[in-house]
Symmetry: C2
Subunit: 239 residues, 2 copies
């Protein structure tokens, strides 16, 4: 396949790397779009920040080539008007330039404007990973919100833990075996089955003593502790 990737960020970097030896890739500067008109591509991938997608799209000349973006939260229809074939290629992963990734493990969520576009998009996706899913813009939105909870917010809780420990002089790294184990357990159990801690044990005296500690030492975390404990216990009732 002949692939144009418009972008200079982490996602563009990893897409380009994952495709080496599998496709003919042209990496295109999102500001100049230099090199985009000279060749004939099978797919044009706009891999820029959410805010910039529309602007980049409007600069692309009318074409017959499939055009997709890679965003979790931007509607597919933003790409309507330039080609009849358009869609979304959303890899569910967080990309950092420094961190190596096993691309074959990454679930890919696809959406396309028509059957033919979906065919090309699937062919493209299969160069990365066998985990190909179809998801419209509404499903992709719920996916993005779910991953904000499971990934961005879990990292934020690790940040809260770090702040709590820093007062006691304990290195945050000491929590890492516990966090690795927490995620490893989810390979085999549902989160509901894997839940441990005072809230699921309904150990009210421990919860009370933790809340008192937070009120005195970290009042900014008090409500979060209360809300998530309540959430865990609400879930118990649904079991």
């Amino acid at each position: 396949m002949k692939v144009a990737i418009i972008g200079s960020g982490n996602v563009a970097f990893h897409l380009n790397r994952a495709l080496s030896f599998k496709a003919a890739v042209s990496l295109i500067n999102p500001h100049t779009l230099e090199g985009l008109s000279e060749k004939k591509f099978d797919i044009i991938v706009i891999s820029v920040s959410d805010d910039a997608i529309e602007e980049v799209f409007k600069k692309i000349p009318k074409t017959n080539t499939l055009i997709v973006h890679t965003s979790g939260s931007v509607n597919m229809d933003i790409l309507n008007g330039n080609s009849i074939d358009y869609g979304v290629f959303y890899p569910l992963q967080t990309f950092s330039r420094k961190q190596d990734l096993n691309y074959k493990e990454i679930p890919l969520f696809l959406e396309a404007s028509n059957k033919e576009a979906l065919g090309i998009l699937k062919e493209f996706a299969s160069l990365f990973s066998p985990k190909i899913r179809i998801a419209n813009s509404q499903v992709r939105k719920s996916l993005h919100i779910a991953s904000v909870f499971a990934c961005n917010f879990s990292n934020a809780l690790a940040g809260i833990a770090t702040e709590i420990l820093s007062k006691s002089g304990i290195d945050f790294k000491d929590l890492l075996p516990l966090m690795h184990q927490m995620v490893d357990k989810l390979d085999n159990l549902t989160p509901q089955e894997a839940q441990t801690g005072p809230a699921v044990r309904e150990d009210m005296s421990i919860i009370k003593s933790h809340l008192e500690y937070l009120k005195q030492n970290h009042p900014e975390f008090y409500e979060i502790y209360k809300l998530i404990s309540y959430q865990i216990q609400r879930n118990l009732c649904n079991k």
Copy 2:
């Protein structure tokens, strides 16, 4: 060393397994304490649920042997009165019988009633892991609260993500590569450095659209989303 482990739960199971070929272990039934008085031990480890520690302790006859419990949240002084040597052996890990563990990776938090007791406790701890820390009951409490945030609450967020996805027919397992990557990043970065997502990008239009989605579809998660996003942005100001 001659070790008595009083308990029949997951922690007792793993302690016993970790010590095989390294110490002479007697596993003691917490209800009968059968076999405890017949032998001379170097250390007695009470490894039962938080609520049951005091009750078990009171049944142990007066002794010169070091007595410790393994709880994160129970004060050391609960063991005062039976032996002058007492303490706490708190392994910072979540134990399931089914899951294998690399014991050498587990940080161990020790507290002892006097220097001699601490010496024996350190010797015992070094049979498990080189990651030996000293922590009084107050520090251990902050450690427990931090691990509730980093581990129990992160698992609860994975549960929330599962609920959100179930409405869209997406398997929760598709979020696991993302969660593994989230924890792997913390091996090299602080949570503050590793933070990604709409809140840290201050992408208010995405946050607003997520909150609207939650209000309509999962109002029970609305406040948690708002509070943690606020927390992430408060942290930005501290950078």
